[in-house]
């Protein structure tokens, strides 16, 4: 007897009904969105049900969608039913101003650091987490770097005064003016070159 995606969907709909939306199957993985306050209930149900047995947390991460009003941050869970080998993905959306999510670390020990990482990079506040502090970044950091409002450095910026790293500085690498000047300088120097 093997579990199929249709059964999983039916069981979940029977239990949670309207609270689960956006059913999809991108590249063969059953995906849905749950209301933000029932994430733990969904996981507990998937864990406890004798037929579903989603007892392995593969991955937990967040995604920032600045354009989704009042639900900017998505927390994505990847669960795995090992005996039947079925993967499942579900998301919850929370507002960026108050990203409160119930912690899964009581259910899965594995969630502990994954949630800390998610907090570290997206600022998701996992309620009930035993030790919610930064894990990969320095403790003094006062922003959440993976959010989209923090773009990577502009490759053409010239305000950095750093000769060693090739930007700005007195040599002015990278600026159009500097290139012309350097070429002119080189030409001048070459005139006096002698072979000894």
């Amino acid at each position: 007897m093997s579990l199929n995606k249709e059964t999983i969907k039916q069981k979940l709909v029977a239990k949670f009904g309207e609270q689960l939306t956006e059913w999809e199957e991108p590249y063969g993985v059953l995906t849905f969105t749950a209301a933000k306050d029932i994430n733990l209930k969904v996981m507990q149900f998937l864990y406890d049900d004798e037929e579903l047995k989603f007892r392995f947390l593969t991955d937990l991460c967040a995604v920032h969608y600045p354009t989704r009003k009042d639900e900017e941050i998505a927390v994505v869970y990847h669960l795995h039913n090992l005996p039947d080998n079925i993967r499942l993905r579900f998301k919850i959306f929370v507002p960026a101003v108050q990203p409160d999510v119930f912690t899964a670390s009581k259910l899965f020990e594995a969630a502990n650091w994954m949630e800390r990482e998610t907090y570290d990079f997206f600022g998701v506040n996992f309620i009930g987490h035993p030790k919610l502090k930064r894990i990969l970044n320095v403790d003094e950091m006062d922003y959440f770097p993976m959010r989209k409002e923090f773009p990577l450095e502009d490759q053409t910026r010239i305000d950095k005064d750093d000769e060693m790293f090739g930007r700005g500085g007195t040599l002015g690498f990278g600026t159009q003016k500097a290139v012309i000047e350097t070429v002119a300088e080189d030409d001048k120097n070459n005139e006096g070159e002698e072979v000894v």
Binding site: P26, V29, R55, T58, R89, F108, A110, W113, I135, L152
Partner: protein
């Protein structure tokens, strides 16, 4: 309380501590990378351990949001750098899944050869380092020369050794040369002899066994709860292997055994890795035979036809218009990828290495998340070492196969 202690004048307000705090790391020889363990010791027994990670965090996920797909391969190199080809192939396969690219069988088999060599090199390091940490240096030096040979194979295939950046979306950048196959044959002939001798040296060695058996043990249930994958999970008795559960790169065509342990302790982890090396050797032999069966034009196939992502050959770029256009578009990162989200995982050398890629139809990923196996299972370290001796904690650390590059992303 001894009399001696009464004579020591402690500064006012200091608390008389019953335990010792020991900083293991970040640059301790026994930590194999920049990670720190703050260990609370009662005599020589460990009361608690706390891990600090993140010393070499390089923001790969953020960097990936600004890069076209082919430039992200170099980031994956630097995750588990003991087996970077597996990471490279895993990444290419994730992209291929998103782009719906079907790779030819020959490419799959060549990839299997490379990935299994990488698994061998990774296990070889881990197991021999377990030896080093228990005070037996010889085995390490003995098998290390075969990693050198494996790296020469990589070098023949892609030009580099440690951070390989091997392959392209759709296949390999060039066909395997005859020299590569000759080196592979040499490896298949000579390495098993060395590995056998390595195992003779360790497996039934009384001192080694006493150091490993019963230390750092974890039950199957706890291991699953902690998100263990790979050899560490299999040592606890769960036969989960991505190569078997969700075959990729035609792993279903191969005949191999998934070794499992029973107790989940350091010794079982050592044995499982040792046996996996034998299985990998058998897979490489099978794959090599299959590769040899391709004759004529089939034997020249080394990539799928994906002009949008696969860099054309240089001579075509100079002579053909189409190739020139694609070359320019790929190098400048001007190819739009389809919209979608995909999770793909491969059996990395230390566990399930997953790539969660979200594309919004742009030229770079909207979001890329790496499921890094050792980041997840390293959480169990305090539980594995609680109540153990300090020297056991060192063994547990090396037998978990922690790679700082992967831990910190």
């Amino acid at each position: 309380m001894s009399d001696v202690q009464h004579h020591i004048k402690l500064p006012d307000g200091s608390i008389e501590k019953q335990t010792t705090t020991l900083n293991l790391g970040p640059t301790h020889p026994a930590t194999h990378g920049v990670m720190q363990n703050i260990i609370e010791l009662d005599g020589e027994r460990i009361v608690s351990a706390e891990q600090t990670v993140g010393y070499i965090h390089r923001a790969f996920e953020k960097l990936a949001e600004r890069r076209p797909l082919y430039q992200i391969t170099t980031l994956t190199d630097r995750l588990n750098y003991c087996s970077s080809p597996i990471n490279n192939m895993g990444w290419h396969m994730t992209c291929e899944k998103l782009l719906n690219v079907k790779t030819p069988k020959r490419v799959d088999y060549l990839r299997v050869i490379i990935m299994e060599i990488a698994r061998i090199t990774d296990h070889l390091i881990c197991n021999s380092i377990v030896g080093v940490d228990s005070g037996a240096y010889t085995g390490f030096l003995y098998v290390m020369q075969y990693r050198e040979l494996a790296y020469e194979i990589y070098e023949e295939v892609c030009g580099s050794r440690l951070t390989t950046n091997m392959g392209r979306i759709g296949g390999f950048e060039r066909n395997f040369t005859n020299t590569a196959f000759e080196k592979l044959e040499k490896f298949l002939k000579e390495f098993p002899v060395a590995w056998k001798e390595f195992e003779n040296l360790f497996t039934r060695n009384r001192i080694f066994m006493d150091r490993l058996i019963g230390t750092g043990a974890i039950s199957a249930e706890r291991a699953l709860n902690y998100g263990f994958t790979g050899p560490n999970l299999r040592a606890a008795g769960v036969d989960y292997d991505v190569r078997v559960h969700t075959p990729y790169s035609s792993y279903e065509d191969f005949d191999f055994v998934v070794p499992v342990g029973k107790t989940g302790d350091n010794y079982d982890r050592f044995l499982v890795r040792g046996e996996e090396v034998w299985q990998s050797l058998s897979i490489i032999e099978q794959a090599y035979r299959k590769v040899q069966e391709f004759k004529g034009a089939d034997a020249e196939v080394y990539h799928a036809d994906v002009p949008e992502y696969y860099l054309p050959e240089k001579k075509d770029v100079y002579t053909k218009m189409e190739a020139l256009i694609w070359h320019f578009k790929i190098v400048m990162g001007e190819v739009e990828m389809p919209k979608g989200e995909v999770y793909h995982s491969v059996e990395g050398a230390n566990g399930e290495l997953g790539f969660y890629l979200i594309s919004d139809g742009g030229r770079t990923p909207y979001r890329l998340h790496f499921r890094r196996p050792c980041f997840i299972y390293y959480q169990a370290y305090p539980e594995l070492t609680k109540g153990a001796m300090l020297s056991d904690a060192i063994m547990t650390m090396s037998s978990l196969n922690l790679i700082a590059g992967e831990l910190d992303a």
